[in-house]
Symmetry: C2
Subunit: 435 residues, 2 copies
């Protein structure tokens, strides 16, 4: 009779209950696949009395999550409490200090303390599993760390936040249906449908995607997790007007996380992007996540699936448990192309790319000439210009796309444009990515 | 100084040379990632004098591939010779008999002898790696066997042959451009571009896709590899006419491999399918491969990437070498939902689905009534009927789609229809899949 792998689960929200349900429903299958039972033996949560729709019979209840992390009957601590500090962090450190493996779905914790936790895991000779922290239903950490381990990875980019992708998709569909809806209205709908939180800022300001991107960066490049070095912009300023122009120009607007191994340093950035409508990732809609890996041997590969939810996240947690049950223990962040160099702290300073610029101007002769002069002065070359609809003397949108330019030059040009009398609103800029 | 993992490569075609190049180009990275060097030490091929554009300096040359498989300095034999019998099979058996790990890109070998080889690997306590045998650049074996190991998998389907997908894509594009090209013309072009072999039958008759499907079936369901139980149809009979109707009906035609865990048994089938143009896999075009996994926890996830070529295949071979270097040895086919039961030998006998039927009939009153009667007699319910273009007294196409029906009933109805005087060509049928 093989020894069971004994699990302690800290946090019994929908994911924790989903893990319990999975371990129970698929117990026989998991034992067949790994050669040993995987059994939940202890749990910890705030409210013991709450009905969670899943039986807690036979499970040891710990009022203190740290007690769970030191529980003598537990081999693996599954941390599903959340938050980068406080109890989740203390629990994780306690787990390694007590010789337990740790599996976590906590992207904030890893984004802020991933390097220290990976060290603690290595010193304790225990596994730090975090497949569930990035794009739940897609086994992307395993794909990058193992499946594509033969490749020098040049870059990874993806749709890492389902809430933002839902909002962007709904806005595109509304524009295409001729009934353009703006950000606030779609956000409210997403909240009503449960796709966005009551306080949506972590999602829509790009923080959640940035947490995941910082983790992916260390998976592929081996450098220490450095969330502070991620350039982060959210989607609050993406308007139906800009989405309409994007569609007209053959683009889609998505919030992407992009990490690249540049000549000087690794760059990490999260911001709205215009991508060609024919790019495979442009067609990943709704709450789905997707990640594209670019490798020197494969060219590129795309992985698409559900990014959140009890089932997909539990699937990822249990994939880590299966690895541990099979004895497949490995460093959390194996070395990569970038080795131990740190990501660039201000990645956009040296960014070079094409740009979409939208201005609200007074419709009168000479306006375009003034704008063009500002761009010329910064050596920014215009690729195309669109002025739809005449409305002499009134406010009209003017759209420009640029050839490749350095971001600092574009920013200077936009500041100069903003000072023009004929430009009546702050310029809007969306970076164009050539995938 | 850690022990290197020493590799012997049998077969120095484009993939073998690609593996050599990868091990050399990314040697430092691989050592950092795995903690030990991965070094080619011996090779075997037919023609020693040939210039392959890659240096063989320092490599032990074996004229006999079986000698390579027994070479005392080799830890892992990489089999890239191909073919299900002969030298590839003998070499593989010799490798395990001599205590070597085996990594292979040989789908035919695994489709025919996968069960026996998995047994030999287990008895020798060695690893049988075959990531490169299915959808080269996509780490799908690892994703299914490890990344989604928490899921009860209901089914897996995919575009498993790049040649067929290239031909289907080119035919669709030609129809959409109003310059319909038929199968033979597109095949010839594919041959000229190097996307199809001089003898294309293994690809276009679905054999290659069926080899891969038989392997995937055992990965997800744990039953012994049973190629003989795969229902196989190729794409020779897919016409531009049918693709035109498919587009009109909102479908795309793809050659898919589909494996499902049915109530009675696992069913495996490879045949042209009509799939909704909005299904994610419908948009995977050209030589790309894609696999969709349906799991009880994730819903579905899609994996897309290059299916062939020196780089992607070498990437997959080296992923297996990395697993071995890291000590991640596991059974070739872990148990799955279907356990050790065998796949159904005649999977289409009990197939239930919707069908597209295209007939060439004489355009005169009463023709449709006769056809409808044949379908009614077999209890096959018509969903839609299309008769484009009138041409009294001449040959015109009539297209029908059915509601869900048992295949045996559809086959009987088509036989009856074929006997009608007004139906002048054998009926064409394409199964409609509701993804």
């Amino acid at each position: 009779m093989p020894e069971p792998l004994r699990i302690g689960i800290a946090g019994l929200g929908t994911v924790g209950c989903g893990v319990l349900a999975l371990l129970r429903d698929n117990a026989t299958l998991l034992e067949q696949r790994t050669g040993r039972p995987i059994e939940a033996v202890a749990v910890s949560s705030r409210d013991r009395g709450k009905d969670r729709g899943v039986s807690l019979d036979g499970l040891d209840w710990c009022d203190d999550a740290r007690a769970l992390a030191a529980h003598p009957a537990v081999d693996v601590v599954v941390e599903l409490i959340g938050g980068s500090e406080g109890i989740a962090r203390a629990l994780s450190e306690t787990a390694f200090a007590n010789g337990k493996h740790l599996v976590t779905a906590n992207k904030a914790l890893l984004a802020h303390h991933g390097a220290a936790l990976a060290d603690a895991a290595r010193q304790a000779d225990r596994h730090l599993g975090y497949e569930a922290a990035v794009a739940g239903g897609i086994p992307i950490v395993k794909a990058l760390r193992e499946g594509l381990a033969g490749n020098r990875i040049g870059g990874v980019y993806g749709i890492l936040n389902g809430t933002c992708n839902y909002i962007m998709t709904a806005m595109h569909e509304s524009v295409q249906a001729g009934q353009a809806r703006d950000f606030d209205s779609v956000l409210q709908e997403a909240q009503e449908l449960g796709y966005a939180e009551a306080d949506p800022s972590t999602d829509i300001d790009g923080i959640d995607a940035a947490h995941k991107l910082a983790i992916l960066t260390s998976v592929v490049f081996g450098c220490p997790v450095d969330f502070a070095a991620v350039h982060v912009e959210g989607i609050r300023h993406v308007s139906a007007l800009d989405i309409g122009f994007a569609i007209e120009l053959g683009y889609r607007v998505k919030l992407l996380g992009i990490t690249r191994d540049g000549e000087a340093a690794v760059t990490q950035r999260v911001h709205p992007c215009m991508i060609r409508e024919t790019a495979p990732i442009a067609r990943v809609d709704g709450v789905f996540n997707a990640v594209v890996a670019e490798g020197d041997r494969i060219g590129s590969a795309l992985f698409e699936g559900p990014g959140a939810g009890a089932g997909p996240t539990a699937s990822a947690v249990v994939a880590d448990l299966v690895d541990i049950a099979r004895g497949q223990i490995m460093p959390a962040f194996p070395a990569g192309a970038a080795g131990t160099s740190r990501p660039a702290a201000k990645p956009m300073d040296h960014h070079v790319g094409a740009y979409y610029i939208r201005l609200m101007v007074v419709d009168k002769p000479g306006v375009i000439a003034g704008i063009a002069a500002c761009l010329r002065d910064e050596q920014v070359s215009v690729e195309a210009m669109l002025q739809r609809g005449r409305n002499p003397g009134e406010l009209v949108p003017v759209v420009l796309t640029t050839h490749e330019a350095q971001e600092s030059a574009v920013v200077s040009a936009l500041a100069a444009i903003d000072r023009l009398d004929t430009v009546l609103e702050p310029p809007r800029m969306i970076r164009i990515e050539a995938f």
